[in-house]
């Protein structure tokens, strides 16, 4: 099997949700001395890109996307120890979470999956996240982005509080804020001074990369 064929196999098996096969193929890539970074990019991430398209085209729905994402992560776990050099330093780093008072996290999880598939390093704080926690984590990992979501109008104000806290900590210039979720709109984002609002996961990945490159 050539390198190209192997990448194609990994991609197709990821799309077909064959986690075990993806794992085996990733191990095989190491036996073939293919650089781990290349396999992640050309096999796993390329596969997730197709999954993202299938989701947009309503061929795949949440159950399928979640399993494909698991397959990707299993592959990454195999390859990670073999990554050469400090490849993570040039990655976009993001903190993500559902703001305090809300426990709906399906949307957040989907954004997280698509961000990771897009090669972004995501630190997930989960749901019902205390507002200070966003700041602490962003400081700790020197995040480029804080991404917050909520499905409840009652918890929207929390997002504004986080932005105020960033200002108070003198971090507002170095951390961009992206928000999303059912009741969130561009108007609300503008009003509270967030840098980005997107309506779905794929758009979030595109826009975050654009903003990061422009900065």
């Amino acid at each position: 099997m050539t390198k190209k064929e192997l990448f194609e196999e990994i991609k197709n098996n990821l799309i077909e949700m064959e986690e075990d096969v993806v794992e085996e193929l990733c191990k095989k890539s190491l036996e073939m001395d293919i650089p781990a970074k290349e396999t992640i990019q050309e096999g796993l991430i390329a596969g997730m890109e197709v999954v993202g398209q299938l989701y947009e085209e309503e061929e795949y729905f949440l159950p399928e996307v979640l399993i494909c994402s698991d397959a990707m992560n299993i592959g990454i776990d195999v390859l990670k120890p073999h990554l050469e050099g400090d490849v993570s330093s040039d990655k976009i780093r993001a903190v993500i979470g559902v703001v305090e008072g809300d426990t709906h996290d399906i949307g957040k999880n989907l954004v997280k999956i698509m961000l990771e598939a897009g090669g972004i390093e995501v630190h997930d704080l989960g749901r019902d996240v205390a507002l200070d926690e966003f700041i602490h984590k962003a400081k700790e990992i020197e995040a480029h982005f804080i991404i917050m979501s909520t499905l409840m109008t009652t918890t929207m104000e929390g997002m504004k509080v986080v932005i105020e806290k960033l200002k108070a900590e003198g971090m507002r210039d170095s951390v961009k804020v992206a928000i999303g979720g059912g009741p969130i709109s561009q108007r609300f984002a503008t009003e509270i001074g967030a840098d980005l609002y997107t309506k779905d996961a794929n758009e979030a990945v595109r826009k975050i990369k654009e903003i990061h490159e422009a900065a």
Binding site: M17, E58, Y60, F61, L62, P63, E64, L66, I67, D70, G101, D102, T103, D105, I106, N109, D128, M152, T153, T154, P183
Partner: protein, 340 residues
Amino acid sequence: MEIKGSILGEKLTEKQRLLDVLNGKDTDRPPVICPGGMMNAAVTEVVEGMKKNHNCDIDAMVEAAIKVHEITGFENYGVPFCMTIESEPFHVEVDLGSKLVEPRITKYNEDILNHLDEIKLEHSKRAITVLEAISRLKNNEIPVIGNITGPMSVVTSVIEPTDYYKMMRKDKVKAMKFLDIVTDYLIRFSMEMIENGADLIAMSDPSATGEILGKKNFEEFMIPMYKKISEAVHEKGVKIIIHICGKSQSILESLNDSGADSLSFDSAVGIRQAKEVLRAPIMGNVSTQLLDQGMKEKVKLCTEIVMKNGTSIVSPACGLAMSTPIENLKAMTDTVKNKG
């Protein structure tokens, strides 16, 4: 004003009007309701003066239901005011919130999947409170609605939602079995609601949207469950309304097989569009965002449009935010009543 559709000038009660619509009869005007459960109108302004939490105290629960009817003008009583009660028998942890913050699940019980065969379900204390509230609210004029959370939303409140969505593909038999157990409990709960005096059942299943599941999964997993619940409710001679959240275009047609006597959608689905596909009367769908943040003139306009488009029962499109002003709810209910 309210004599059309009833015999010999006798005033049409709110209960009769709603039941007439659900039975496919003509009425003087559509009823305007907010069923309860996920879609309840116990907003901050309604409950802030109350001493106890209407989510767990029996007196407060009854009082809140009556206050919603009196203050907002919605033509029904409805309990409970959250969507966590049905998950309690499965031993999850619930934060009851306060009277101003809705209850929410704080800890799942994944372990339940290892005990599906020996599962024994007992009503939680709050389920019993709901049943008692219904029997206290029972009357001849105002319809009392018993609210249940739909099976997918309960299942994804008991275990981590992503785990369940994956299980639907990876272990279909187990996923179906769990869903079935939850559905049977929901049937039992609604039967007891009816025995205690509920005039109809309303079920909301926000986690079963077409966007999350897709048409195929929806037909395979959800429709059989909805059918089973509807049939059980019908056997008691009672009607059922089913509410689905999100963009439901892809599953509209499938819902014809759900057995629901009325179907309700988020404002993402147009009434006209839904009417073209569905046989059952439509309930809905004044935007909840507009109700929360809009001016009352706009609420009035939106209510008029929804009526013009042919909704059979006027209601909010989805769950109301706690911060929704009474003024806007009143603008909505007054608009419907003045059109009579």
